[in-house]
Subunit: 252 residues, 6 copies
């Protein structure tokens, strides 16, 4: 266990999931000096124009652009991800090894897209629980227990509308926004020129709309499944200083 | 009652409300040949840099850009709009005179912004009901009853998140999008250059995000308070042909 | 792949599920000339008074009454249906073979009734995704990929009330309503006289109540997990002409 | 204060509102020997074919059919009902005079129909509060304070779907159902033959569908804004004995 | 099948789940003379300071304190509970053997805690369904079918807030409250002195807050997935007599 | 305008509303050195045992206990509060004079209690908007415009359950909890000994339950109608350090 710990781990099913949904936050945290890890539960293949090797190169390139400290891919099956004990063990072993304070995963069923997204949510939630359990180290490559204090959900924009999560907070990603777009563009095997243009149009819209909910030019939205504990709420709110002013206030 | 009837009326509290929320739909319907009316319940003044005369000119210019057939302003009080019998009569008289098939208004409380928005919703809903009532013509300048078959709500993006309406349908406004932006820019007394840039950034984001929910580049979202009645649902869905493909389908 | 394609496929766990929930829509679509398929994931047996042979005959008779073009039963286990890769493959192979534009399944957990309903929903959602995936044909009897543009959910009336789906549209089934009732009555092994009378009383009520939400005498309710994309919303709403008038409008 | 007290009061804006929404419950309670009162906040006129005199006769006839002990009409303005101190006083005076244990009113906004429904809800809620307040008797014709323990809401079926209330309990009205239909039919000035047929078709559907949620042939649905307090829940549930069996249980 | 039937069975994944969430109701029902059973799907071990033997002793002691008639532990795996046919059979066999009128289980996902809770809910729901099915006795140790009329859900307080269930009724546990606290304290291997103090502080708060929703000093909240069927609602509400008065009524 | 500005203003309809719902937060903020104001829209009288003079003394005593910097009572009518222009002006004048950064009010309809609560919410929301408007100073005693960046809602525990607001954050009030209880006890005219005991039992429960949602012994829950804007979310979450550990995490 000589590895250096990570501050935050983003765990999602496919290469490009983190970049598309949380790329701005990853770049922002790296810029602030935090050690950020990315865990892909599958290698994301097959796809129409990809291969495991090419996809791995693209993932590495995207990670480089965003400033990710460590990226790893598990060998769980793409398109066929299912919540299982083995999958939970694999993810939890990674969590015990790198001991983050914060864990991030997708939230929401995507019945019109891949069922992997929701299965990954179930696996990651269980793995976080497994990470802290005592008397079980033999299941996790002898890694000792580690409690992850905070779980952030990234609500899925393409989730069925009847199942969307509300968001709790928005991270300002305005000053790293070009990095996010470049990281997505690194997935050349996935997005040809026309497809990339459409995707970036859509992502820019989601991120600007979420940013607008909190007073930022571009923002990424997260949810926590509990209320935020504050001890000095006046200091907290006074320190918030979104460049476009507090959200949803009309000044006329 | 020699006035020509209108196909659709957009009734909202202030000049620029229709342009900001529904400007693309107005332009699209005008382009398709429909007669569209805009009713402002107030003249929108005072504002920091406006005057009733200037605001009226801006409203007229925006209407011209969008292709509005008829625009009218009632003399209800800006900032102090309250649901009342007099306000209901004033709006209903307009509805009886111009006899639209469809009526559009804002939906949602905006507790962080003007209380006028929600009061206007209440007034317009009641006016629609008053429009169809018999044995009451003397209250409405002798205009005879008129039933408006369809009410479309335009959910307010700045509404408190805990009170948002779900949308039912999205109108494709991609091919008239520049007109919408130009109509908003016509309100020079309201938006200086910096403010306009921020507002358009935000509106483009909302409209592209709502469009993405339905497969369009830019779209405006509406809600109806009932289920859509269909007699041949296969023909209906088969005819839908959003240029970016059906919504929320991943093709990899 | 010499089979003729189907326009719409209704995929549900048990014989009689389609008839009870969507029988009117099936009959209506068949009458309009569409090719409709019914896929039963299980043979529905054992039941107290049924057998696989009798149930298959009843299913065939119901299909004949409704005008179904093709009906097929998979050999997945009744009462013990679980989302699994094998079940997903079996359904997806059927979808690739018959290439529908529209796929219909149940939506909603039914914790007080059979767990099969929700498991079937999960299987069918995943199978729709599998249907369109490239480089996987060997899993699906060499059937090539097929993208199904539209997924309709049929919300389950007996779902736990805390988990009900809202509906998006209602199909007018008034003119084929007797066919629906006759198709249900074909399941003689399932419903004795007293039980049938109660069931039809209840179904008539649900269908008339759902119809009332949209202005029809009898209607069946469906949900889509996205907003409806419209390019000419005025033409669309003007063409809607429910015989009992637009929904929820009082004319006094 | 020589009037005899009432057990339950149904307070709604128009004659026929109680009959259409709660007629079965009224008849059922009267049959059980309870003293039931009906309070109409307005006389319901004008309508296309009605007059105050005719409407009053119809109201009396409907009350007779249902077994109502006392019916009264306030002179608040139909179509123009607004929550106001005067309206609250008028209703509260009635409540203090007749001292019911239970008060019933409509719940839900009906933006596509009369705004009176929601205004009546606001008035009745406030009147219930006013009824119990001390040191205010002079406002209420010197009637002393009276606390009404229970408020039942009757969710409005035609409410905007996005604003519907969930129900808490369903009252079995199967054995008095013909009385309900007859009471509605008493409003000859409101419903000609064709209109009556359509209305009864729809009401039968709503009541049978609501009944089905609780195991009754016909039922009327109510909501309370709190949880039900029980001291012996086993006895309570064991005594429930809906003739069609417990709700939503499949017996195959 | 010489065992004596049980009136109510509480089925949850771990020893101490029933005591913490429903201990007051168990004690109350036992005091009223009902036969109450507790089914633990797992033995709850390993935990940091427990062992199967110690945990079983604590469970027995807690059951004694509450007056439980029968307690049983299945050998399903703690921390690794998954909905499966075998788990369903095991629970359903117990239900067929002891034939309760009412079955109680937890409701709600607990993504920040053990995934066992939600898996147990799925298993118990399916087991209740399996319990009543004919022609399947061989799967259940030859126990004949048994229909359980009522399913009560106990909403989980630590569930993600975005997924909480609403409650339907609250059971008054004020007069047995010390028994509940003592039963929890029996789990000495799980809660040292400091941890126990914190836990009891929290549980007292939840139970007093839920009690307040229904007029009790301490109460436990339950949900049913349907509306409550009532035949004489006036008698029912009149008999409710919470010692602190009807819920949420201000008497000033 | 020589008055000293306030950091936070709590604006509610009656004396004792602030103490009961937010008393811990007020005491906590005062202890942290913030200047806190309390605005009562009415004097709260008549009540059974109160008088305007006694109530004012109690309010002053409670304010002293909590460390309030300034308390003021408007002369709007208790029990008869209605959203109106005059009420909005009165509150907005106070806001312009004392220029807080944060404004707090109740949120939620309380149909089983006083209608004043919701009317006060409407008045305060509008007054906040009026506070920032230019060219209107003459309406507000010549006080210049003032924009209040943040609005905190305090969800009402006695609100109808179907209308509750979700909370966003919880303020730790553990170390000032006795002050809160003492401030409530100062209202001797409102709560005799028995009533006070019951009230404090209930309030302790609500506050401990809300605290438990965020890891505090006692907490008060607030909602904001937007997402929280964060620029360094890792630093923010890392600094959160609730003494009972992060919320809803099980450590076994």
């Amino acid at each position: 266990m000589t590895e250096q710990v990570l501050d935050v781990i983003f765990a999602m099913p496919h290469p490009d999931d983190v970049e598309i949904t949380c790329g701005g936050t990853v770049a922002r945290l790296a810029k602030l000096g935090y050690r950020v890890g990315v865990l892909c539960l599958t290698n994301g293949e097959p796809t129409p124009h990809g291969s495991p090797e090419v996809r791995a190169q693209e993932l590495a390139e995207a990670a480089r652009i965003l400033g990710v400290s460590l990226v790893q891919t598990l060998d769980l099956p793409n398109r066929e991800l299912l919540d299982s004990l083995a999958a939970r063990y694999a993810v939890a072993t990674f969590l015990r090894r790198y001991r983050p304070r914060i864990l991030v995963t997708l939230a929401g069923r995507t019945p019109a897209a891949s069922p992997d997204h929701y299965q990954a949510q179930l696996i990651v939630e269980a793995a976080r629980f497994y990470s802290q359990l005592t008397r079980w180290d033999e299941r996790f490559d002898s890694m000792p227990p580690h409690r992850i204090d905070w779980l952030w959900y990234r609500p899925v924009h393409i989730a069925a509308e009847q199942m969307q999560w509300r968001g709790t907070f928005v991270v300002d990603v305005s000053d790293v926004y070009e990095q996010k777009l470049a990281a997505i563009a690194a997935y050349k095997s996935q997005f040809d020129e026309q497809r990339l243009e459409r995707l970036l149009h859509r992502i820019r819209a989601f991120d600007a709309a979420d940013g607008a909910r909190a007073g930022f030019r571009y923002g990424e939205l997260y949810a926590v499944p509990h209320a935020i504990p504050l001890t000095d709420p006046v200091a907290f709110f006074s320190a918030l200083n979104p460049p476009q002013g507090p959200p949803t206030v009309q000044t006329r």
